[in-house]
Symmetry: C2
Subunit: 235 residues, 2 copies
């Protein structure tokens, strides 16, 4: 996908990250999302130089929206800009991963607590519904689908908090986590664990027990971090 020798990315392949149609008045947003997806997918790696005119050519747009997109991604911490030379995907060190999970544990715990306290109508049903679809995906060992549903579950939870700041921060955390290579859900036995941990969170929410929801959600994240480290350190 990426020619490491020259550090150049292949335009044709990159193009598919951008939707096929036109992007009336939303070119910059479309380019931002496309680049972000390419990075989160691992298509663009920290070894790749992202040259503005190359990407503009690949997406068949001008440099302006590409420029703005890269600045936004730089603000998000996904890429690093070097003046007058180029932009690369930001590397993610082991320290960064640890720091990320520490923050994530706290924020997800807070989200679970707030969701339990508010417990908006339909929330428990929605989480359970996603959970049953995850169970089906787990039964088929469809890790990709499972991973997508897992994202959906966590998004549903944070949307239920009704706290826009928390939602924004957890969104940024999600972006960072998705950059990590290969989901932890492929780890043997992890899928079932996740299902039961999610269920514990939902049951606590159902009983409006904020403190319990926070505790089990935090435990869920601590366990996720353990698996993540095991995967990253070669198990």
């Amino acid at each position: 996908m990426v020619d490491v020798t020259t550090g150049r990315n292949h335009g044709k392949d990159l193009r598919r990250y951008l939707g096929p149609g036109v992007h009336r008045g939303r070119t910059t947003d479309a380019v931002t999302d496309a680049l972000r997806e390419a990075i989160l997918d691992g298509f663009l790696t920290p070894t790749t130089w992202l040259r503005e005119d190359e990407i503009a050519a690949a997406f068949e747009v001008s440099r302006t929206p590409v420029r703005e997109a890269m600045r936004r991604l730089a603000d998000e911490g996904l890429v690093v800009k070097t003046a007058h030379h180029g932009t690369t995907v930001a590397p993610l060190s082991l320290e960064d991963v640890l720091a990320l999970y520490v923050v994530r544990e706290n924020l997800e715990g807070l989200a679970a607590r707030l969701a339990a306290v508010r417990c908006p109508a339909g929330l428990v049903e929605r989480l359970d519904e996603i959970g049953s679809r995850m169970k089906a995906a787990a039964a088929e060992a469809d890790t990709a689908r499972l991973s997508g549903l897992n994202l959906e579950w966590h998004r549903a939870l944070r949307d239920a908090t009704g706290n826009s700041y928390l939602g924004r921060f957890l969104g940024q955390v999600e972006h960072a986590v998705r950059r990590l290579p290969s989901s932890t859900l492929g780890h043997p036995g992890r899928a079932d664990e996740v299902l039961s941990e999610h269920d514990a969170v939902v049951r606590a929410i159902e009983q409006r027990d904020g403190a319990a929801a926070e505790q089990v959600a935090k435990a869920h994240m601590r366990r996720a971090r353990e698996i993540r480290l095991a995967v990253m350190l070669g198990e």
Copy 2:
């Protein structure tokens, strides 16, 4: 400062937010910081329309850096863009303030805990030093200086966590809090309270007691929220 009748801002006054010199290769950053300061200062209010060419004229730059700056501020949540019509400063509702303090309580608590656990050399001394300067400012009832030192204290604390994600999120929280009208430090008796609450946090850090540091930091934020609400609701 702002002509509410026309919704237009006075260029000359806005200009001073941008440093006087040249901004070689950093025009966009300079404009972003200038606009952010103008918003945090309350110079640009939610009733003001931010027109790209007006601001560009006021800063004597082209529309391009202004455009990029506004997009960044929109990502930060400070302004709201309406396609093909304009940009306004985002309003901050009472709900937003409550949501903000909920998240802030958690993040500041986490920061205090991490700082206590790591307790890098010189941290306690630095916090105490800022604290004594705050005491001096409080004695002179210099609320503006006190407020600046308060920011410095909280920044020192979060830098000491060594957690880049936490630092980024607390930075965004700080921006949001600074948008609130008039510091709570002007509230009668609040300055002394803040001093003793800060001191309690530092003493817990000094003893490397993470749990205690977290608790007192969270209590500090809960109290800050109370005062904030009292001020906002007309006391």
